[in-house]
Symmetry: C2
Amino acid sequence: MDRETCRRMDAADPLRRFRDAFRLPEGVIYLDGNSLGPLMPAVERRLGQVIAGEWGRGLIRSWNDAGWIGLPARAAARIARLIGAAPDEVAVADSTSINLFKLLAGALALRPARRIILSERGNFPTDLYVAEGLAGLLGRGHELRLAEAGALMAALDEDVAVLLLTEVDFRTGRRHDMRALTRAAHDRGALVLWDLAHSAGALPVDLAAADADMAVGCGYKYLNGGPGAPAFLYVRRDLQEQMATPLAGWMGHAAPFDFVPGYRPARGIQRFLCGTPPILSLVALDAALEIWDEVDLAALRAKSLSLCELFIALVEARCGGHGLHLVSPREPERRGSQVSFAHAEGFAIVQALIARGAIGDFRSPDIMRFGFAPLYLRHEDVYDAVEMLAEVLNGREYEDPRHRVRGSVT
Amino acid sequence: MDRETCRRMDAADPLRRFRDAFRLPEGVIYLDGNSLGPLMPAVERRLGQVIAGEWGRGLIRSWNDAGWIGLPARAAARIARLIGAAPDEVAVADSTSINLFKLLAGALALRPARRIILSERGNFPTDLYVAEGLAGLLGRGHELRLAEAGALMAALDEDVAVLLLTEVDFRTGRRHDMRALTRAAHDRGALVLWDLAHSAGALPVDLAAADADMAVGCGYKYLNGGPGAPAFLYVRRDLQEQMATPLAGWMGHAAPFDFVPGYRPARGIQRFLCGTPPILSLVALDAALEIWDEVDLAALRAKSLSLCELFIALVEARCGGHGLHLVSPREPERRGSQVSFAHAEGFAIVQALIARGAIGDFRSPDIMRFGFAPLYLRHEDVYDAVEMLAEVLNGREYEDPRHRVRGSVT
């Protein structure tokens, strides 16, 4: 496998044209789209119009005239297609944490005789914090039960109200079998809530086929909605009218602009909205989602696997003997769209790579995380990134003290 | 009182220069800054830099390099001065509704033997919905008790855990006596939570002097943070460590980037953060707040009163005989920075005014609401707006069918 072969693969890539929709900085190979997706010129243009025109000139009138009030539903409909949902089963609102709280609270109320929220010990911490926070607030003996991934089935007993899992693990990229776990939970009478933060836009998700009850997900990773973009939530249609959100804000009211006392939830998925949405951040997400209408998700997955397989093969071929250890599953079907290697010097290696222009990220204690967003990455980029990694390792660049300084975030 | 006199008042206005910091559309007199503040060119510039530079070129690195992680605290420190708080008593996060939920939940836990959230029947509906939603979720017999404004003191009994009030009423602009009500609530052992949505940036607020326990407020009204800008919350320093938010997201964790299971709240006000903030909307708020560092709040209040008094006097002088009815308190000290008149044709009158370029808004069933933001409004604008109102009324322009069409928002 050489650079020329990679270029030929890129020339034959059916998703090739989408790369032009992004503006990637000169000299950067961006392997961190699983943390923050890059800017698209179309998003920048739309933001410019909204800021100067809709806010600046339209002022308050833009809630009606520019359709701000309909933005959450428009963005939701675009996400629906990516996750195997109907447009009226998805809402865009708040943050992933907040949405998780809404749905977990609603779900516990549907299983009043049960006390357990079952999750995985390695689940994204904020998901666990939110579950803990809710259990503590309820004060009725609810508990967060944590199990290792392999022990989830065994931990699914008759006291589990909700199984709360992230489909693709943020550290390792390991992908759960959504259908099997959902079926197992349903067999025990539990509801299932999937966190799709590392799934939506990374691979095809089919919530309907999996018979999933609820889901949440993130707008700023593979969906490229910009830093801290609003999140989304999914509730299966037949559950919506049974569920209430305790975060009863006016945007979820049946008649928000009547300003009447007494909360009356809107019909359907709209009831899961809460306060006024951050329009600028929401506009960026909505604009970033436009491109997805044209993306063939099977081709997305095929390219994702091709990029990830190439990365693993090249790293193992070019960086052997440096103590890198693949922590992602080796079987492609069991992975999302990221590949992680562990190394005791992982932090400094990632910093040295960033200094060279190949941006991945690091997760404690020793995980180097590389995301492969198929819309804008090429096989050629993968090749070049591995060459840089080999140089960083061979030249022991990670020993440079500059690469050992930690910021507040990384 | 004629137009020339108004212009002389504007020439002597100590806040005159701040108008240049805003970009108001040609031909618009904007009396709706209490609903959505206008765009400032400095905000537009900063957004352009953040979008193209920090997001586009900096990508994920901007969390550290551009200081995104510190944005909530920076914006909070700027708001603190406007509300009589210390910087470490204010957090910027989420929406007003969500922040209200956090603090109400925390407050109820501090008064475990009490079951009542006391509020005012005419309080902003979303505040009441959130209180209802929380009470329902807790399922321990908590109730939202509603009283008319004049009956609040009498309704403050020993079962009230929290008194939840909005300082300035969104319909009438009536201003509560924050000190007296806070003292009365404390005398009965209750905590007090103030909604400052129509106070912050409209008039000087002194939470410390009032000995207030908690507050929430809005970023997109008088603070000009842009549509749906993040909201703020205040918790008196000595209460912070006693309170926990049930919305336990990672940004409120003591070590959010350690990704450890087990929620451990951050020290101080930081614990009231939840998920990842919407950076673009937060940047707009932060940039809009800069100007406030230079604003003399006593001068702000003086000008606000001057504008409101002028408006009332001119409307009563120029629009008599048309059935307008002042629903705001006549005594300046009992008003915020808005003036409301009721009229059976209020909706169509406001639409006719908007068509002429004087933008106010309408609130059911019959209230015409006019906000007077002292940073960018002139006495001359007030004069011109009243002239337009007189023409709309005298010419019965509100009978035009075009002004009777309702959008989804108004």
